[in-house]
Symmetry: D2
């Protein structure tokens, strides 16, 4: 994936937890039309290289079929915007409410997640029609929107769709990787220049401000902004590379229990991990990696990606370092001059040492939309930054991504940190 | 499915276990061309109503995607006929040898069966091209065939493809049934007239001949023909109907342990069986059934189908009867005047009381083809007859179908038997 | 285990399926007292070497704790004899009806089989008291017995207890084998002389009589006696030995798919079988085997034991032979002069090629006792003969033992057969 | 359990992460002898009411048999103290190194945890002898100890044994609860007086000190002491009671998805939770609870216990409150006058909102002992306080207990907190 997708300009803070409502400006309405079209079109552009057959398959319970992503993001607008707020709206197909709800308990029952790949119908063409039907109605609604609260919900829906754009790419990569013929999604092979030596950047501690301040769009889990006390620490100015990871493998990193958390060691043995996901040791031909452009040789300079939290943690321990907490990561990024830390959000998500938990005084939004983030605050670790496949303009320094510590199919890499003694 | 498909005329005993080889007559060559075309076309006709999306899905490990069936039957001809015997033949795509081998260990490794549904590629169009490529070469080979042994292998391949035609229909029915919208494969709804009262037909026992005599085609497991001693018994002149099954349900048949084999009772509770597969109690609307034409009301006169061996056995016990052994079934069919027993092979396969085991002196064929039947002679029960979806002309009175006793997705029903005291 | 246990003299045909009842002779009553005492004491003798700790453990769902066997056999007499037929009888402890029912659905709910090892109470001492309580009452009942039907039930209970004596030994062997310290149950090590060369014994076929004739005790599944037609065949005059099995292993018998049934090949890979259960390759020290006397070197002359049906079947195929059917086995044993076939019932049970199914006209007994055998006639293979650990006098040539084809913890070995061409 | 066990006087900070070593004072040596004897005897006193049968059973993978606890705590002293430091020491039995290692990878391989219940040998008596052998040697070692580092390791071993004393009680409760006869461990039934109304205690926030200061004993995970910034908050002065939990059940608390974390809701459905572990709705007889003294009626005033983190979290949300973070809990306890908060450490452990993660600058100890705490810092939530069954004197306000969020068999309850708005 190159990053040539449309820059989303949403981000004007229309979505407010405090629920304050004001009249929508005319210029904002025009921007909404424009943003809506850009984001929706980008999803279709991402699906375009894929055949109907490609769009049906679910390769593991975590993965959703491409056509499901296309339909679910559409269902979001139908369910939370059109049905409650556009009186003239006619549902495209009532069964979709059941088929394309992801996890909103408040909205009603839903098709079980691990069975999304059993649905050959509706067809890819049906879903294209569904998208057009909803898009037309949404533009009608945007014309009618008077208040910022509706605009804020539309904005949330667009950010939601951007998240699914990244999921679509993660998921189809996994689907294609299960095929022994190593098929290609079709993107060009990226190249990396030599990775420079890594340097530590020292960060002073103390009481610092953490979280989103409410100006511009943010998800509810990024706030409230609050104070945290940090010890002084160091953080690496660049990401960990494939070359470094090969050294970890060569030093029996996957075979030494002392480097691993107990759960991580168990996962290593249960899944027989010996390298990042998608890496393969081709013997005399060296290590190769499956990518969206098919299989190719590993470039030692590329950032390592598709490692679990357990692996990132073990690697850091092997290096005599540790992962930064998410508070450290955020504070380092916002308190240092631009480009002090490279590849902050354009290569790989960076695992942190922090469990995904609510910030002090966090309150989820009321209603079904409140299920968006809060109910997942258990059993997951946060990642910060952004990845090659993240939709342009989607993330912020306060953005909190989160996955279970054994997950590897998203674009998870790492940046090291260290105590200052 | 109606039975209007082409009547396959193969069945001239070209496939011989004894390996005797004679020159192929000219008329036989013409028939081979014709048979080959008919059988291959019928597969394509069965797949025609299905979209690319429909043809990818695998709804459980027992089920294979439609496009896999289309490719695997083609692989059979490529592997066992073209590659070894047509010098000019060029493999369509080397990876297919791995992707479309079903279970032939002697041929090499293969894609794991439960992961057939992960393969979005090759596409449905690729497989159509694969079929044409192989068909063209096969007609070339048929022109060259000099001996009956090659003709016999082709004949085997066509009977093999007929088996997969039935599997294709069983499997797509299961795939579509997993969709809460009850989609239709597209066949018309069949109607049944009133089922007549069932009558017992008395059959004398003694030393009887069992198995295929080698004249005309048969699978190796149907022979050798041999003598068996049977006690006198009775067999019902018609199949068990839905009306009778509803009475079994109403009498708490699924709730009374005393009616069931121990393994059957365990299966009832593990799977919470309360009716045949695809039946649903719609409350005031009565019982409905999912069919290849979608969901419809149950017709009390239709033969019951999609029951496991355990259910068939429990039902028979409830009726004070039992299932016939496969030897009894075969002897009753061949020793009574035509139409004494109705619906012998045109409605549902009929579970028997017999485990699927080799007949005396059974020897599988040499080589990979010997894996066709023999290695499955463990843990399965035989069914006799033939079903609505069986390809026309495919079965014989000596035909032995077999499935594990808990299987329900094939067209399994039953005919009762009883001891004569 | 040596075979020095008391020879049980029960076997006078008191248990009749036909339900005919006659007055019990005085001499029969004395014999019943005597038999009852001998069988019950033998169970206690078998448990005597085991500590309370040993008697609690359940090492897999198939295994039952020793104290459970001691209690369940007692429950059988309490439930089927004392409660219904001795008016003065007071139940020892009402909860035992739930705890010690094995599988009799007609008697009521029961403690789940896989959880028998969770019960630390009642204690081993409690169960000894339970046994004494029931034994006293049983002798009282025997004094009162007027009719042969009650005597027949007592006889059944004693044969039932003998079956559990063998299970007790099989089960404790498995329990102790799970302990890395290789503890001993305490029996002396048996020695074998050189195994002679095996010879084939030819058996003529034709219509032969099979099954128990009703004179003397037999389980219901051994009848009714009936005619079967057999082809001529050959059977080996001795059991397959460890030496032969080592040759099978050395010839990669566990690595060649062509030797195995499909389910067997799957089991080999799932369980990583490389030798019979309890065998271990100790490298330079050769193969050892865990026995009831601890671990020792394998004696090449000993009969191979603790192999599954799948392994026995694959071994036979490797040798260009096959397993006998159970009908062939029985007919060979009863139709040849004594000692033509060696070790028929004193070393290992012998797997046959037959599924465990009812004989023609088989009817289980009425009531809960009818659950004894009939409901297990599915998914299992028969073994014939008897083993070192079988209680003396327990088996007959018509005796049908049965286990699932993957089971290895019972004493299953084999004797080869072959077609006569 | 009453709390009449010996008050352990260890806690003089002999165990130091910084590794500083000084000479052991004579008075300290005498105290060590005394402490060692008291702690070791208390374990034996806890096991005394249990039969050999009771001490063998493992009712789920999380549970260990009583005799395993007795042996493992002994192994700890043998492995970390006697073998490396007492030259005259002879190992009691070499196999124990394998059997009784819990999770120390650096020490070598070990018997799999879920199979501890398969070991009938060594017997309970063997283990009593093992304990005496090690105790004698330990007193010899204590006489020889010159330096505080060895004393610190002994102290650690005693605190370790205290943890297993609590585990022993948790585990045997679970074992006995699996028995349908509701057996008793033998303790008297505790009584509770009326629970007073709960009141909120307001706590000011700001930069506060957290963690152990190194004076006196603490586990490594309690430090280093560090600064954290807390928002102002409220905490309840008493524990949540059974009466309140009954109201939660009555309000369909287990049936409302909106109250639960996503993982929690999944757990509710997977395990069909409808009440705390050990509670049972006996219909007209009301709710009963299984305790170490058998089954009894629930006392509405008793603190609720045996709830998972998910349940505690859902209950708090239902009450419009939340769980305190572990930092809030600790700060509240140390910053308020004694008895402001009741039942801080004498009834139930209190779930917090905090994941179990390392404190800033945390470093585990070097060597195998470093596996004690650090490697478990993943996937678990912390609990604070102490329980009825906790060994006397074992805990501190800085003590961090931790369990996976779905665990219920330990004594987990809760105390509510709230934001101050």
């Amino acid at each position: 994936m190159d990053r040539s997708g449309p820059q989303l300009r949403v981000g004007r803070g229309l979505f407010r937890v405090d629920g304050s409502v004001t009249a929508l400006a005319t210029s904002s309405r025009a921007t909404l039309h424009d943003d809506f079209r850009r984001v929706r079109d980008y999803t279709e552009a991402l699906a375009a290289p894929l055949s109907p057959e490609d769009q049906v398959v679910q390769s593991m319970p975590d993965v959703s079929p491409t056509k499901w992503h296309r339909a679910h993001t559409t269902w979001f607008f139908e369910t939370f915007l059109l049905s409650p707020r556009l009186p003239s709206y006619t549902e495209f197909e009532p069964a979709y409410a059941y088929l394309f709800n992801s996890y909103y308990e408040a909205v009603g029952p839903r098709h079980p997640r691990p069975q999304r790949g059993l649905l050959s119908r509706p067809s890819v063409d049906d879903i294209a029609r569904y998208r057009m039907h909803v898009d037309d109605a949404m533009h009608e609604l945007i014309d009618d929107v008077a208040d910022t609260d509706v605009a804020a919900l539309i904005e949330l829906g667009l950010h939601h769709e951007q998240q699914h754009q990244e999921l679509l790419l993660m998921d189809i990569k996994h689907v294609l990787s299960c095929n022994p013929t190593d098929p290609s999604y079709g993107t060009p092979i990226s190249e990396w220049t030599d990775a420079p030596d890594a340097h530590w950047v020292d960060i002073a501690g103390g009481d610092v401000g953490i979280g989103h301040d409410g100006r511009g769009f943010a998800f509810d889990n990024e706030g409230p902004r609050h104070v945290a006390y940090l010890e002084p620490f160091r953080i690496a100015d660049r990401l960990v590379t494939a070359r470094e990871w090969l050294a970890f493998i060569a030093d029996d990193g996957y075979g030494r229990a002392d480097l691993w958390l107990s759960d991580g060691w168990y996962a290593v043995q249960e899944h027989a991990w010996q390298a990042p996901l998608y890496w393969r040791n081709d013997g005399d031909d060296g290590w190769t990696v499956f990518t969206l452009a098919g299989r190719r040789a590993i470039d030692p300079n590329e950032p390592v990606v598709h490692v679990s939290h357990y692996e990132a943690d073990a690697f850091a321990r092997w290096r005599g370092a540790r992962l930064p907490t998410e508070l450290e990561w955020e504070h380092a990024v916002v308190s240092t001059p631009p480009s002090t830390l490279t590849d902050v959000d354009n290569e790989v998500w960076q695992w942190t040492a922090s469990a995904y938990l609510p910030y002090p005084r966090f309150k989820p939004a009321a209603g079904a939309v409140g299920e968006y983030n809060g109910k997942f605050m258990s059993g997951q670790m946060t990642l910060r930054g952004g990845a090659r496949i993240t939709s342009p303009g989607h993330t912020r320094p306060t953005y909190r991504n989160f996955f279970p510590p054994a997950s590897r199919w998203m674009y998870g890499g790492l940046r090291l940190a260290q105590d200052i003694s």
